[in-house]
């Protein structure tokens, strides 16, 4: 389990433009993306998520916001929703298979 010292070390290494909000926002992403809730994992999981967020920032996030980056983010959102719908449809077909279409 990462300690407070570990996080401080990563923060120091990141060194630039890392706001608390960045960390919280990305930790939330990682935390929820892993399917956790407040009853599972608890502080340890969240700490790991914070560490992952910090590493992500270290890997480099463009500090500027351009029209292209926003459009790409929106496109990813729409694409993911379509993917979710397709996954649900697959699950539906697997659970309730339809018979052959009468000719």
């Amino acid at each position: 389990m990462p300690t407070t010292s570990d996080i401080k070390r990563y923060l120091a290494a990141a060194g630039h433009g890392l706001s608390t909000l960045d960390v919280i926002a990305q930790a939330a992403t990682a935390f929820l993306g892993a399917g956790n809730d407040k009853t599972v994992g608890g502080a340890e999981t969240l700490l790991h998520a914070v560490l992952a967020a910090i590493k992500s920032v270290q890997a480099g996030i463009d500090g500027t916001v351009s029209l292209e980056t926003v459009e790409q983010s929106l496109a990813e959102f729409k694409g993911t929703l379509l993917g979710n719908d397709a996954s649900a449809q697959s699950a539906l077909d697997a659970k309730f298979p339809t018979g052959p279409i009468p000719t």
Binding site: L21, A25, L32, D37, S73, L92
Partner: protein
Amino acid sequence: MRHRSPLPSVFATLVCVALMGCLLQSACTKSQRVDTLHASLVSLNAARDGFTSWDREHQQQIVDQATNRDDAVKALESYRDRRKPVAESFEVAYRALALAATQTDDPSLNAALASSRDLVDAVKALIGGK
């Protein structure tokens, strides 16, 4: 029939923390504007990823809980109808952010922040967060 995931309350809390955090930075100087826009995009993307994760699990839950195909189809359609306002709010928030990124005036930035507030309300309305 209303399906609930165990995630809503924590998801809503995290979304609110992420988005309201950037709203608190709305009193911007010119140099803070760039930081605010960046923070808003990071927050919006975090909310997006959290929401899409929840959406995937929620739809799976609907299928898991259904006892026949017709019920599952109806429940999925009903959920997706209720999801539309959230999807539209995300689109509005992204569009507003794009506009604010290409302008230098306060109204465009305030509009972007206001759309984030609307998004929080839309998400909370869908998933029942407090």
